[in-house]
């Protein structure tokens, strides 16, 4: 561990908070329909979009109408993306946008990929540079990077509106929220970020792959592509699907220490701002601060554990005789699957940033993390996207937990639970409980199915097996469990040995999919995305228009330190009770032993 490493972590938290706070004020104005400084620029295009979409943007929708628009829009996006990916080698695709003549991935892999990008998961059973054409990357994947982020944000906004609404059942208008999210929030930020990244060496071209003759007489092929634009929205929208197979570890996606720091900030920017925005919209900023404190404490805990574990090095390194401490000119640590320019701190922090959110980008190989270091992303995912979480997803998920915590707190003090002046009744608690539990259930169910079946074990990587134990190693269990946990949480990061695509050689030849993993994963993602969305909207509908009674002396406050502790307790309790047995079998058993197998 180094001073610069710890300094990076502290600087990150401070800069993030300083950026998210003003953004939250801006976003609160956008979603309450007030004028913002960009209104003169985007007001015209906004009205034009409503006209061609044929929507009355001012018409309020109740939760069912809002959900219906959302589901139908998502379905249309699914079909469109499926068509794009399955016709990427069709006659109407110009050669300049498919310079390598790539064929489409088979139907099962495409099913998984489409479900993945639609749900903001960006789990990738394909490898970007050997499967996707430039056209597929742009009009297929990049588009869903935007739209899935938008869908997440509007659900959070609708839930907040339901919580604060004093009369009527309206939660806003889905189409208006989508258009505003894209025009006023995502577009300006995304363009800015893309240009900063391009200035640092993230490539942006549609050239054919380069062929290089090296100075020692070898040939090297270098993949190219329109990366910068996709990279920006991939991080900003907590999508995380890399243009290239190795994602943000690839020098063309993340060229240096500065871009690494910058990309991490971009990932957490909107999730952090949404938390502050929630406080502003409730009229009591402390409500936002309490949630921010809750998630920040859990976030920092995860970072510290990951950094220490990775700096310590792995049992395999030590068995080989390597010294993993800091020496002059080298940061040491477990550098297997990590890049020199990011170092241990930059890799550990990036890992936590992208697994607490639904981003799922990686700048290092999670599968090569030490047992305890690798347990950190597991723990983050076990908290079901509440520690900052995905754009929007994080806020609506933690608000469901807040509801649960208020209910438990109410039981403890023996009063009817009240939240922001509204009495919580059986209906809301039932809906919130289901919304919370459905994701873990999907993850565990799919994992069980995959480890127990021969078809599922076909996806386990060869390097995770051992001569002694065959496929029954902790590593093999970890990578299987992580796959379905990551997909259920719509995260998309991977213990990347687990595969649904078999590509015996580089290039687009002879690829075929493992149907079991592709299909199960696809359903895992779609189910665990849309079921919680429906529950969150249903909670919003149940709360909307409830009578607000002023807080009395006995009302439990949700904006102080006591509540922060209670909320952390509830999150850990739910996560631990659900996942602890499974976590023990994989990462923890590896972390507790220096034994090799």
């Amino acid at each position: 561990m180094t001073f610069a490493g710890w300094f990076t972590i502290v600087a990150f938290v401070l800069v993030l908070s300083a950026l998210a706070f003003p953004l939250s004020a801006y976003m609160a104005r956008v979603y309450t329909g007030e004028r913002v400084f960009l209104s003169p620029i985007f007001g015209g295009p906004e009205r034009f979009l409503y006209r061609i979409l044929r929507v009355d943007a001012e018409r309020q929708q109740d939760w069912k109408a809002y959900a219906k628009s959302l589901i139908i829009f998502s379905l249309a996006g699914w079909i469109f993306l499926y068509i794009v990916l399955r016709t990427q080698d069709a006659f109407f695709v110009p050669h300049s946008l498919n310079p390598l003549g790539y064929h489409s991935a088979p139907a099962n892999v495409t099913f998984n990929t489409v479900s993945s990008f639609l749900t903001n998961t960006n789990w990738q059973y394909y490898s970007g540079e050997t499967t996707m054409t430039y056209l597929s990357q742009m009009i297929g994947l990049t588009v869903q990077n935007w739209l899935s982020a938008g869908v997440g944000i509007v659900v959070a906004v609708a839930l907040v509106r339901g919580i604060i609404s004093r009369s009527g059942k309206g939660l806003g208008n889905f189409w208006q929220d989508m258009v505003r999210t894209i025009l006023y929030v995502l577009a300006p930020l995304s363009i800015l970020i893309a240009i900063v990244l391009a200035s640092q060496g993230v490539i942006a071209n549609i050239s054919s792959y380069l062929t290089v003759h090296t100075i020692t007489g070898l040939e090297q092929k270098i993949a190219m592509g329109p990366v910068a634009g996709q990279e920006a929205i991939k991080m900003l929208g907590t999508n995380g699907g890399g243009f290239f197979n190795t994602n943000s570890a690839h020098p063309f996606e993340n060229p240096n220490g500065f871009t690494n720091f910058f990309e991490m900030l971009v990932v957490l920017l909107i999730p952090a701002a949404l938390i502050f925005m929630y406080g502003r919209m409730t009229g009591n900023r402390r409500q936002g601060y309490a949630i921010y404190a809750t998630v920040m404490i859990m976030f920092l805990g995860a970072v510290v554990v990951a950094y220490i574990a990775e700096a310590h090095g792995s049992p395999a390194q030590h068995a080989a005789g390597l010294h993993t401490g800091v020496i002059s000119g080298s940061g040491g640590g477990n550098l297997e699957g990590k890049e020199q320019r990011f170092g241990i701190a930059g890799s550990a922090l990036f890992d936590v940033v992208t697994t607490v959110t639904s981003c799922g980008a990686v700048n290092s190989a999670l599968e090569s993390f030490t047992g305890i270091g690798g347990a950190v992303p597991f723990a983050n995912l076990s908290a079901s996207e509440v520690i900052f979480g995905g754009v929007g997803t994080g806020l609506y998920s933690i608000l469901l937990y807040v509801l649960l915590a208020v209910f438990i707190g109410g039981l403890m003090v023996g009063r009817t639970p009240e939240w922001l002046g509204k009495k919580l009744e059986a209906k809301e608690i039932k809906l919130a409980g289901l919304g919370i539990l459905i994701t873990p259930l999907a993850a565990l169910f799919c994992t069980a199915l995959a480890v127990a079946s021969k078809a599922g074990r076909a996806s386990i990587s060869e390097v995770a097996t051992s001569a002694k134990l065959g496929v029954h190693t902790p590593q093999a269990f970890s990578e299987t469990f992580y796959a379905y946990l990551s997909q259920a949480n719509n995260n998309g990061s991977a213990f990347a040995g687990y595969t649904g695509l078999i590509q015996p050689n580089a290039g687009n030849l002879g690829a075929h999919g493992i149907t079991f993993a592709d299909v199960l994963g696809g359903f895992d993602m779609v189910f665990a995305r849309y079921a919680p969305i429906l529950f969150a909207l249903a909670v919003a509908g149940a709360l909307a228009g409830k009578r607000i009674t002023p807080a009395g002396l006995g009302t439990m406050r949700t904006d102080n330190g006591t509540f922060v502790v209670l909320l952390i307790g509830v999150i850990i309790l739910v996560g631990a009770l659900t996942f602890f047995p499974a976590l023990l079998l994989g990462p923890i058993v590896q972390g507790l032993t220096g034994h090799l197998y």
Binding site: S127, I203, N205, H250, T259, G337, F342, S466
Partner: protein, 236 residues
């Protein structure tokens, strides 16, 4: 019109409109702006020597030479050219890319686990190769005297994440400098000076680790130690 029908029509229009705006206009506009404002970066920081493309500044390379069979044919395993390190050049980190090391058209993680015997064996193999390269093949004398396993920096034997890491640690470069100085008949201080010249600092002064750009360093060696940067707009 029924609400669901209205939603369906709006959805179809929305998907098409957004696909054009966000899937064509946006990425191509960013690409266009980058091509004009940062042409070197946008095209991958290509490095030319005498007008010949020899690599990208930020994509690592395999500085090995092809191993030839007795009949003179280049040896291949599963379609990948087998190479041995060229002692004249600084060597990059181990790489696990598909189709041979440093295949920049198929970046790949090694995915080797922390408690796996296979990881230990791979580390040991890389350690052996690293120590072997530290010996003069004829005299068996060590270039860096007293180099032991415990002194090898981790980046020299652990594979990088992308398999395309353009950098090595300074400690790794300093060890290899002994060999380079000996086989190229340079003074150690000259080589160390070049290492310092091609070391990039931490981002913003704290983010990440310092690293030595192997391609730039090797090109500088070839040009003689007075040469300038590889000409692709050095950035710190």
């Amino acid at each position: 019109m029924k609400p669901w029908l209205r939603d369906t029509i709006t959805s179809i229009i929305a998907v098409i409109v957004f696909a054009i705006l966000l899937g064509l206009v946006y990425p191509l506009a960013i690409t266009g702006i980058s091509q004009v404002a940062f042409p070197g970066d946008a095209n991958g920081q290509k490095v030319y020597v005498n007008g010949k493309l020899v690599g990208s500044k930020i994509i690592g390379q395999n500085f090995g030479t092809p191993v030839r069979e007795k009949n003179g044919k280049v040896k291949e395993v599963k379609g990948a050219v087998v190479t041995e390190p060229d002692p004249l050049y600084f060597q990059s980190r181990p790489s696990a890319t598909e189709g041979g090391a440093y295949n920049a058209s198929a970046s790949t993680f090694s995915n080797k686990g922390p408690n796996s015997v296979k990881t230990k064996e791979a580390d040991e193999e890389n350690i052996k190769a690293y120590l072997e390269l530290n010996k003069n093949p004829a005299t068996k004398a060590e270039y860096d005297p007293g180099l032991t396993v415990a002194k090898i920096p981790v980046d020299a034997v652990n594979t990088s994440a992308s398999g395309l890491d353009p950098e090595i640690s300074k400690a790794n470069a300093w060890i290899q400098a002994y060999r380079i100085a000996a086989v190229r008949h340079l003074s150690l201080s000259t080589v160390d000076g070049l290492i310092a010249k091609y070391t990039s600092g931490r981002g913003l002064g704290f983010s990440g680790e310092e690293g030595v750009n192997v391609l730039e360093l090797n090109l500088a060696l070839d040009r003689g130690h007075t040469a300038q940067s590889a000409g692709s707009g050095a950035k710190s």
